[in-house]
Amino acid sequence: MARTLGSGHKFISFNALINSPAFSARATRIDTDTIQVYTYRGASMTELPPPTSRDEILARLRKALAQGAAGTAETVSSGCPGLDAILPGGGFRRGTLVEWLGEPGAGAGTLALLAAAAACGRDGTLLVVDGDGTHTRHCPPSERFYPPAAVGAGLAAQQLIVVRPANAVDYTWALDQAMRCPALSAVLAWPRRLSPTAFRRLQLAAEGSGTVGFLVRPASAQPTPSWADVRLLVHPQPQTDPSAGRRLELELVRCRGAAHHQRLVLESDHATGTLRVVAGDQQSPPSYRRAR
């Protein structure tokens, strides 16, 4: 039983912690001033037999590294089961940024909406920052967000908040404030220009609050440095059959804890719009791979 510390510290009971399902399901590290607890999946450290060979030591170290890299945050589905299969943890981690790269009309925005709908579930709130951050009061943006698309993706209209900042300074401020708020499930924006400093600040803000930030950017932004956890490049593939749905090729350009440049081809069902995997070099969640 931990002793009660002064104000600002947590009062922790060992029994309650160990019996909770959250504690045993994944690696958890609880750090207070006087208590440090480490537990691995299902087994405590004292139960493992000592490693016999060098390979086994390396395997255990890699396993610990991958699980440590997975972090303690929960994951949300990406809205597409095929994509969930190749992402570590089965989806996007809360508190990270996800970047969708694609030309206008390529499908990146709608995929981001599907992922945002999955992140919000039934009760969450999605905040959309309208505009591309380069317009002014006298030169308003020519394209505006269209909420019925979000309704079609599975969100309810009450779950949406749309923010329309008037100029670039307000845009950056509003995006920053939205990322800092722990009450939002997801934030969607399509900044045309994002400096590395601003990007890093957004990533830190998302990490602190636990929201998932979806940024939709043009494909020309691929060479620029990014602080997003996951970067997805969307290539649409033309088809000739009108009864077939939309075919998109997703390339996992960068993902922390997974192999880079994995490709996935998704096709949308013409009737319902759900995405299914047609082809792709899927690999199992690479817990034993070295993250680059």
Binding site: G102, E103, P104, G105, A106, G107, G109, T110, L111, L113, L114, T134, P140, P141, S142, E143, R144, Y146, P147, P148, A149, A150, V151, G152, A153, G154, A157, Q158, L160, I161, V162, V163, R164, P165, A166, D170, W173, A174, Q177, A178, C181, P182, A183, L184, R192, R193, V234, H235, P236, Q237, P238, Q239, T240, D241, P242, R246, R247, S268, T272, G273
Partner: protein
């Protein structure tokens, strides 16, 4: 000088037995309540008579009679319980209708009132108080027949007039005006002139006091923002302490007076009622930064015109994401304060076929209610009902994504629409047929400020879905007839085009994803 078509109308509550038991304070409060209710329905300027214990209300109904004229024409339109009106209760049909409605409204609230309409305040007051007496006595209804007490004189001039044997206003008017001040004091000729209309008199409109207010006059003018913030924090603490228990602030108005005498004012509206000084101070700081202060500030006032119920939530000890609703409200407050109330919006899908109007974006924070107190605000449900009544009637049948049955297809509607549809040139095989290719002139607005370069590209269409015919909006003026096509071009991208059926021109409305 008063205009000839202006009217003043006092309402006097006769002192019946029940109301004699009320103290003057209670009567004043009741009169103030009545004044507020009347000011919403009948006249924008309603004032209490400027006495220590007012018993009458003064309304300015200049130019308002035409609003009631049609409603009141004919005895069938007037309420059945209203008696026939006296000659001094309005000369035009509109005025008489207004008086009848006002009497009906006051009787509905249990008040008996004597109403008179005249060109000046003095005349209206006189007729309202002494008109019924004259009617009962059967005397001619002229200003000269009114007793001198109708001139709103104090006791001393009245006593002198009685001693002199002057009983009627007519007798007083016959005397030479220049001799009156020396004999009877200055009040008598002033009241006479006010009755006739040659002396100006104004109605001071009654405004309800704010729910909680605090003010401070500074000894030395202050210019630095940090000191202003500290002073505002003190005033905020006073205002919060003055609020009734369980009430929080929903709107806050701050007024600052500069050294030159100019008043500056800003208001902060909140999504949820709050009594948290730190949050309110943060919002006021956001506003103070953009306030154009030319000179140092000498005086500051804080007022709370609208308050609301505070919602209390029991906090749990180990909440994973504490207080989500509260944090959401704080974020909305902060965004609305800095970006403006109309920049933070919520979506409401309406069953309108025209895509631009299929979704209404409304501000999350309601507009500032002027001059209302806590009792008079409508409940939120009534406000929502009133907002919902402004919806357009539902258009033709082709609408998807409405709030009744949300469709699950994300590829039905584009996620971004052009604010104004962009005209494109389309090549199609048949004049009414689907498009085969379209010409796009893209004007890239470069980030480094160089000259805009225009590119022209011909995009060949590989697949198309449509047409989706939308014919609607005849009630908005011009009928909108469009054939929408969802097209896939040769590199796989999807766009939304439509042909305007009125002139056959093609437009590009949005892109999918």
């Amino acid at each position: 000088m008063l205009e000839t078509n202006s009217r003043r109308r006092p309402i006097a509550e006769p002192g019946d037995a029940a109301s004699d038991h009320e103290t003057a304070q209670e009567r004043w409060l009741r009169l103030a309540e009545v004044a507020l209710q009347i000011s919403q329905d009948f006249s924008p300027t309603v004032g209490l008579e400027p006495f220590d214990f007012p018993r009458s209300l003064l309304l300015d109904i200049t130019g308002l009679d035409h609003l009631h004229a049609k409603a009141g024409q004919g005895s069938s339109a007037a309420p059945s319980t209203s008696p026939s009106l006296q000659p001094y209760q309005g000369q035009t049909p509109g005025e008489r209708a207004l008086v009848a409605r006002l009497q009906h409204e006051l009787r509905r609230q249990g008040l008996a009132a004597s109403i008179a309409v005249a060109d000046t305040i003095g005349a209206a007051w006189a007729w309202a108080h002494y008109g019924p007496e004259l009617m009962a006595a059967g005397k001619p209804l002229r200003v000269e027949s009114l007793p001198v007490a109708a001139l709103r004189l104090s006791e001393e001039p009245l006593a002198r007039l009685e001693a002199l044997g002057i009983e009627w206003v007519g007798q007083l008017m016959a005397l030479p005006r220049a001799a009156l001040p020396s004999r009877l004091g200055a009040e008598v000729p002033l009241r006479l002139e006010q009755l006739e209309g040659s002396a100006a008199e104004v109605i001071v409109a009654y405004r309800p006091p704010a729910l909680a207010a605090a003010g401070r006059l500074l000894e030395f003018p202050v210019r630095s923002p940090e000191v202003l913030e500290a002073l505002l924090a003190e005033l905020l603490d006073q205002v919060i302490a003055a609020l009734p228990a369980g009430q929080g602030i929903e709107q806050l108005v701050c007024r600052l007076r500069e050294e030159g005498g100019r008043w500056l004012q800003f208001a902060v509206g909140l999504y949820q009622a709050t009594a948290c000084p730190a949050h309110l101070l943060g919002l006021m700081r956001l506003r103070l930064e953009t306030l154009p202060l030319a000179e140092p500030v000498e005086e500051m006032h804080l007022e709370v015109p609208v308050a609301g119920e505070l919602t209390w939530q029991q906090r749990q000890l180990f909440e994973p994401r504490p207080d989500i609703a509260r944090q959401r409200a704080l974020l909305i407050d902060r965004l609305s304060t800095r970006l403006g109330r109309r920049a933070v919006l919520r979506a409401r899908c309406v069953p309108d076929a025209q895509p631009e109007f299929a979704c209404r974006l409304e501000p999350l924070i309601p507009p500032r209610l002027r001059g209302t107190t806590l009792r008079q605000r409508q409940p939120a449900s009534a406000r929502r009902r009133m907002a919902g009544k402004k919806r357009w009637p539902s258009g033709s049948s082709s609408h998807e994504g409405s709030n009744s049955s949300p469709s699950v297809d994300p590829w039905l509607r584009p996620w971004r629409l052009f604010a104004r549809p962009a005209p494109v040139e389309v090549v199609s095989v048949a004049p009414d047929g689907p498009p085969q290719s379209f010409l796009v002139r893209s004007r890239q607005r470069p980030l480094n400020g160089n000259r805009v370069n225009t590119q022209t590209r011909l995009l060949r269409i590989v697949r198309h879905w449509g047409p989706e015919r939308i014919e609607t909006a005849w009630w908005r003026g011009q009928l909108v007839r469009r054939d929408y096509y969802r097209v896939e071009i040769e590199d796989g991208r999807w766009f939304w085009l439509f042909r305007d059926l009125r002139n056959g021109r093609w437009f590009w409305h949005g892109s999918f994803g």
